[in-house]
């Protein structure tokens, strides 16, 4: 059976997070990525993980970076990589996008709706992580829905052409913007993804990112292909 995963929940209100756990379980998610502030303590992250475990949901800690320049990006990556399981970079310029794409510490890159940066073939070609598409932009459109759909179709096309994995997330900022996994896959069919690709982008692809990073963060991991065997 498929394990569904939503890697991007941006819920800030603690009460809402607790309510969301129940809803997420009902919707059929097994793994969820919750965005934390970079300053959040590890104890608090563990508390949330424990709470979600009561609902049989695996919580992955995530941080969203929005760097202004290369130095800021590299320094925050150095600081936060060992603390969070998923690191996402919201690219505000093409320069930042290229640097984030090349860096293997970055798991996901996404492009905001301000159109300052664009997902191009040259970025896709060097991208080590995955491209993230946040459905919240389409569910709660700030501009015309056709413009946003066009952007997502363009991004999905480039990603498919360059064999870049696509991760579809809700990007929900409140409880009412969370969508069930099958619905998320159905929306991504609008971006001209194949049905199997759409299902993989809400299940196997995000799951493999979480699993890979957990192995890397474990104390047994030394380097690529090397680990301590007890």
């Amino acid at each position: 059976m498929r394990k569904y995963c939503d890697l991007h929940l941006k819920l800030e209100n603690e009460k809402e997070i607790f309510e969301a756990a129940k809803l997420i379980k009902e919707m059929g998610f097994k793994v969820v990525g919750l965005t934390f502030q970079p300053t959040t303590s590890i104890i608090k992250i563990k508390e949330f993980k424990k709470f979600f475990q009561e609902f049989n949901i695996d919580l992955a800690s995530r941080v969203d970076l929005k760097p202004k320049n290369k130095i800021e990006l590299l320094s925050t990556l150095k600081k936060l990589r060992r603390k969070f399981e998923i690191i996402s970079v919201e690219c505000d310029s093409n320069k930042i996008a290229v640097i984030a794409a090349r860096d293997r510490r970055v798991d996901l890159i996404s492009f905001p709706l301000n159109f300052k940066a664009k997902f191009t073939h040259s970025i896709a070609h060097v991208l080590i992580g995955a491209l993230e598409i946040n459905l919240v932009d389409l569910i709660m459109p700030k501009t015309s829905r056709t413009v946003i759909l066009n952007k997502f179709i363009h991004e999905a096309f480039i990603a498919k052409f360059n064999k870049v994995p696509i991760v579809i997330s809700s990007g929900a900022t409140n409880l009412f913007l969370i969508r069930a996994p099958r619905e998320m896959a159905a929306i991504s069919l609008l971006f001209k993804l194949e049905p199997l690709e759409a299902l993989n982008s809400v299940s196997t692809i995000p799951l493999s990112i979480v699993e890979r990073n957990r192995i890397k963060l474990s104390r047994f991991y030394i380097g690529e292909g090397i680990k301590i065997v007890e």
Partner: protein, 122 residues
């Protein structure tokens, strides 16, 4: 020559509103669903969907709809893009899909007993 019968899917929709006491009615839900399909897929899409609202429960906040089998993914996308019901922030999600009305009625019964057990008003 035998004619191929049209096949349908029956869907159990669960509705969650921000205001628990929000007044919902059948017409509002139907128009929200129709408008969403119309906006996304146009009039031909709406005809292809063969959508029909069969059951609506105001108290338990669930509905059963019927739609064409080959339109199911489009219907899911249309449902997912609904954010408002009767000017109230709302979330609609598909809790169960079945090929027969009998199957969906079974799911409705288990859904009602689940609500009773948990004592939830939604």
């Amino acid at each position: 020559m035998p004619l191929k019968r049209e096949s349908f899917r029956y869907l159990l929709l669960k509705i969650i509103t921000k205001n628990i006491n929000a007044e919902l009615n059948r017409e509002k839900l139907q128009s929200a669903l129709l408008n969403s399909i119309l906006n996304l897929f146009g009039e031909t899409g709406l005809v292809e969907s063969k959508f029909k609202l069969l059951i609506f429960n105001k108290e338990k906040k669930f509905a059963v709809v019927k739609c064409a089998k080959n339109f199911i993914n489009n219907f899911r996308a249309a449902v997912a893009l609904i954010t408002n019901l009767n000017n109230e922030e709302a979330l609609i999600f598909i809790a169960k899909v079945s090929g027969t009305i009998k199957g969906i009625k079974k799911a409705v019964l288990s859904f009602q007993s689940f609500n009773k057990k948990n004592g939830s008003s939604q």
